[in-house]
Symmetry: C2
Subunit: 411 residues, 2 copies
């Protein structure tokens, strides 16, 4: 990057972070691409830590994604190594070799099997990963491991992000306190499935892998798979959760166990908070946009319609221009290919129904709509009038900032 | 529009236009939305003229699209009335009434059935069409009808277009000269199917409707359905052809008749020329981009992959920044959902293969690639290495101009 990007106007401050028993993190400057900042994070997990993950569906995934999918065939995790600046994508056999080398070096240092080391890389596609620099930085990374390393880790994984992203929840399972804490990065090439995005959550809860995986998969649907910045799906996306099991909670083997309800809600909430931070840091974003679709033929159909609106450049540029151009919303519904009946369609902006049953609402009050469009959080509601299907997705506006950032990313 | 847009750097001059026997056109200022320019075109066709059409697949089409689909249940056309500035979309029952009123008034003036009058409207969605102004302008439009009215007609249908678009071909059917001439408009909300776009072609050839419709449908696939500016599908798109039958060509009832081969090629060529003019006038465009996909599992798959690349904001902004960011092309292939094998994928820019068989080409010559990216016409080739499927699509880059135009369209 030629110069640092201005911080997103939608940025959120880092929350009050705590520690997760059994997790230590560190961040170092390995000089992979960026100068004068950290670009490599290492997390160490206590033996017995269980992992679950959700990975990009892009058909050309990066080597680290392939590595992690393979590593997840056993439930255990002892380390997570993430670099920023180079995505290790489309790097052929050399890319897989780089993964093996990095995992082996980490495993040797932490005295664990290579398969218990999870890897991620984010940044430019198609350039060979300078694994020697990563491996050379590992001893310093190990020396810096600390239970308080969360904020530094959140900073080290940033690429075009303009603020570090983290969230925390304290809840109970069966009356026993457990904690969930996570970090994320992502700001461009963000679209389902999933956002261009790395997100790592840890908890001290004691949970078997099937429960953990099931919680993560379902939480991802309503969070990271319901956001889009630019409709582009990264080759490197991943969301992982690590459960150290050091809390005193009772054993749970069923994801639907009522004792897990509070934890599930808190995890979903934390995932959504992290996902919305990614949208808030959408490249060039000045407005966070929530699109709620109701009355569709199914939830699936509602989700597709909502994404079609959220990905429409014309809808997004209108929002950037603070123009309540509901006609473009109608266009986006129509182009989705999903069942829609023009004469039952209604559109609201900021809670004011502008169009109802196929026509503009005569003499609707424009003043609150105009005021709403000037705000930082925009709400668009669409009712199809066909059935009970509903969905919510989030996106941001499309501005000059997006063009600035992406027209010169590699220069 | 607050102020006129600068003419696209990719603009083409109007070609040397001729007349089509049996077609007279005029353009007038009806004051629908724009001031100080024409915004209504009328074309009159000689009795016996045959029409064929292709219309938007958007599920929320404008009232004029519904009108035309209905009018096309008989093959005859006597008039075409097109206004710019108001799309007459999402205007409920009033929108259909406006169509009926405009068609009736035109039919009365030209002494023909209302069903032989074709209508189109382009511009803002959701505002009531001021049909009284259109109807009031009809007598002047009739008075101005002229065989030489083509250029004026091309100007009258422009909205955010920055240059008028027309093309002409002179060919033979069975040794007898016939002519094809057409005009088009479109620059934003342009994506299959079809471009946000109006295109009208006339010919003096004598052809039955089934042949005409079949020629148009197939010509549209390789032209207007192979372009995209911003992935948004308009509610008003249409492509029509009118054949006056005043030429001396022999009768043809089979679209595959060898006597029609030259005409078919010329028509396809003219449709592609018009479609590329629409891309050349893509909102904010500074580069025309051709994406050629080969080696896909099928032509259909190749077409979807090509569109996925062409619609990727990250690919388009990279091109705007003259950055040969082939990694984003790989990402777009991967997100298409079509069969792709990372390790067989190759990418070329400007004829230089940068990536082959899943990895970057070691020491490829960057100089010609850098030079190519600075040009106005960019060529991206992707080979999947899987089968014989191929497709070509065209798009433009995504620049600050697009944001400028669409962030303030209604203001």
């Amino acid at each position: 990057m030629a110069k640092p990007l201005p911080v997103s106007p939608l940025a959120r401050p880092l929350p009050d972070l705590a520690t997760i028993a059994g997790v230590r993190l560190s961040a170092v400057a390995a000089g992979i691409r960026y100068q004068g900042r950290t670009d490599l994070m290492l997390a160490e997990f206590v033996p017995g830590t269980i992992a679950a993950g959700v990975y990009t569906k892009n058909a050309c995934p990066g080597a680290p994604v392939l590595w992690c999918r393979e590593a997840l065939t056993t439930p255990y995790a002892r380390a997570l190594l993430v670099n920023a600046g180079n995505a290790n994508v489309f790097t052929g056999r050399a890319g897989m070799q780089a993964c093996e080398d990095c995992a082996d070096a980490t495993a040797q240092l932490l005295n664990c099997p290579s398969q218990d080391v999870f890897l991620a890389s984010t940044g430019v596609i198609g350039e060979k990963l300078p694994q020697d620099r990563i491996i050379a930085a590992l001893p310093a990374a190990k020396a810096g491991l600390s239970e308080d390393g969360w904020a530094n880790a959140a900073c080290a994984i940033m690429t075009t992000d303009t603020f570090p992203k983290a969230a925390r929840r304290d809840v109970k399972i069966g009356g026993k306190p457990v904690r969930i804490q996570g970090i994320a990065k992502g700001s461009g090439m963000v679209a389902p499935d999933m956002a261009t995005m790395l997100a790592y959550v840890a908890t001290d809860a004691k949970l078997p892998q099937n429960v953990l995986q099931s919680l993560l998969t379902s939480g991802c649907t309503q969070s990271f798979n319901s956001i889009t910045v630019d409709s582009d799906t990264s080759t490197s996306d991943m969301l992982m959760i690590f459960a150290t099991g050091l809390a005193d909670n009772p054993e749970i083997d069923d994801v639907n166990d009522p004792a897990l309800a509070e934890f599930t809600l808190a995890l979903n909430d934390l995932l959504l908070e992290l996902a919305l931070m990614v949208v808030r840091d959408g490249e060039g974003a000045t407005k966070l946009v929530r699109i709620a679709v109701t009355g569709a033929e199914s939830n699936f159909s509602a989700h597709r319609i909502a994404l079609c609106i959220a990905n429409s450049p014309l809808v997004k540029t209108a929002i950037a221009g603070e123009d309540a151009n509901w006609g473009r919303v109608v266009m986006a519904v129509g182009k989705s290919g999903e069942p829609a009946d023009r004469d039952r369609l209604s559109v609201a902006i900021g809670g004011t129904w502008i169009a109802k049953d196929g026509g503009v609402v005569e003499n609707y009050d424009e003043a609150p709509v105009v005021a709403h469009m000037k705000g930082q959080e925009i709400e668009i509601a669409v009712d199809l009038g066909l059935g009970d299907g509903q969905a919510r997705v989030w996106t941001c506006d499309l501005t000059h900032g997006y063009i600035d950032i992406n027209g010169s990313y590699r220069s």
